[in-house]
């Protein structure tokens, strides 16, 4: 499959993301986070909705991402803001794994 087909973009190899961790992916002036948790790979916006803080240094725990600056919490699967100071949800994006490679679908 071509990487750009249907707006699917290659992020990295599967093994580059540790369990309960994330990797940052920058594409066309936007930042995304791709997570590996026990039941698969997921993707959200890479910047906290509370302030312009990158989530890449955040803590992934129990299927949630905690912002490293103010500890706002989001659900990784739904993007839902679960705890203040985060009030606005993160956008989520489809992710798939093919032949050991991770792809994210971004409709620009």
């Amino acid at each position: 499959m071509k990487q750009e087909e249907n707006n699917w973009h290659l992020v990295c190899n599967e093994e580059e993301i540790d369990m309960d961790d994330l990797i940052r992916f920058d594409f066309e002036n936007a930042t995304y986070c791709i997570y590996k948790i026990s039941d698969g790979f997921y993707a959200t916006d890479g910047i906290c909705t509370h302030e312009a803080v990158h989530l890449e240094d955040g803590l992934v725990m129990d299927g949630e991402i905690e912002c490293p600056m103010h500890q706002g919490i989001f659900d990784i699967k739904t993007g839902k803001a679960k705890s203040p100071p985060a009030c606005k949800d993160l956008n989520i994006y489809p992710v798939k794994s093919e032949e050991g490679k991770i792809f994210i679908q971004i409709n620009s």
Partner: protein
């Protein structure tokens, strides 16, 4: 002074610069960020045990001269609950998230903080650390007000009065500047109800004291934030006192100092590693000494001891009372 006008929480991304971040291996940072319950429990149980034991001893001495040192010890331990409010508020003490929130509400009550508005104003403090007229948690104003710092604040008088007034106004639905600037509109009703509950409990304690015709309830619940506050106030004053304002480098505005484990780990939740805390607020208290070791070559030398840190800070604050532009300059080429 800051070069921009602050409007509201919704606009706070405007003119936001990047804070200095030291170099650290992302894997090491991730490991230091990981949460555990056991260090939080050990600290929390130890703290509340010594609070209860010292309170019981103080109770036994009531009516004798021994009550003076006994209540001083109890009040000092009680006043350090403020550090608990801070650390539980960062949700990093326990891995189990609801435990952080549970103890956050308890320690907010102990330290006379309404939890909703303070959670928001503290996020603001981390975004705009010691940026004048924007950060609501500046303890040492410019020029410094010596009467405030070394009398009214030292005994928590101004703080308790200010908090009482703020909680009272919020309980009536009247918004103070802190609420308008820091608390989003959709969170304000939560803050108003939280303020009402706090007012109700405080009034209950006062009524209890009147009914039993004794100061004891006040000595145990309301007043320790005042009579027990001097050591705590001096400790927190060290966080930023005498250092540079309006900078985007926490190494210039914030102080790390080394103290004994009773003062530092037990009472102060390791917030003596304050530069490290501001650089990486997600790192829990029990990993701050390890974080300090990992990045200390990029930080100014910490003050070795509480007294030595005061000896550095107090003359600077005295100078700042006359020269608001004075600050202790840090060597950043360490």
């Amino acid at each position: 002074m800051s070069k921009y006008t602050y409007h509201s929480i919704e606009d706070q991304d405007q003119n936001m610069k990047s804070w200095f971040k030291p170099k650290i291996d992302p894997k090491i940072l991730k490991d230091l960020t990981k949460r555990k319950d056991s260090p939080g429990w050990i600290n929390t149980i130890t703290y509340f045990s010594i609070l209860i034991i010292s309170g019981y001893i103080a109770f036994l001495t009531w009516g004798t001269w021994w009550a003076l040192p006994a209540f001083f010890v109890y009040g000092t331990i009680y006043a350090f609950s403020n550090a608990r409010w801070h650390e539980y508020g960062h949700r990093s003490v326990f891995k189990t998230r609801w435990l952080n929130d549970f103890f956050y509400y308890i320690s907010s009550f102990f330290s006379y903080f309404e939890p909703v508005s303070w959670r928001w104003s503290h996020t603001h403090h981390h975004s705009r650390t010691i940026h004048q007229e924007i950060d609501y948690e500046i303890q040492v104003s410019r020029p410094s007000n010596l009467l405030d710092l070394f009398f009214l604040d030292l005994f928590g008088i101004k703080r308790v009065f200010f908090e009482f007034k703020k909680i009272f106004l919020h309980s009536l639905g009247i918004m103070t500047p802190v609420a308008l600037d820091c608390v989003p509109e959709n969170q304000r009703s939560k803050m108003i109800w939280s303020s009402r509950i706090f007012m109700f409990i405080k009034i209950l304690v006062i009524v209890w004291a009147i009914l039993i015709e004794s100061f004891l309830p006040l000595m145990f619940i309301v007043l320790p934030n005042m009579y027990g506050s001097p050591i705590f106030q001096l400790t927190t004053m060290l966080q930023h006192g005498g250092l540079r304002a309006d900078t985007w480098d926490h190494r210039e505005s914030t102080r790390t100092f080394i103290v004994n484990p009773i003062h530092g780990w037990l009472l102060y939740f390791n917030m003596q590693y304050h530069v490290e805390h501001h650089l990486f607020p997600q790192v829990p208290f029990y990993n701050l000494p390890k974080l300090h070791k990992a990045i200390k070559d990029q930080l100014p030398q910490p003050n070795k001891g509480f007294i030595r840190a005061l000896v550095e800070m107090i003359p600077a604050i005295l100078k700042q009372s006359k020269d608001p532009h004075y600050f202790i300059s840090r060597n950043l080429n360490t």
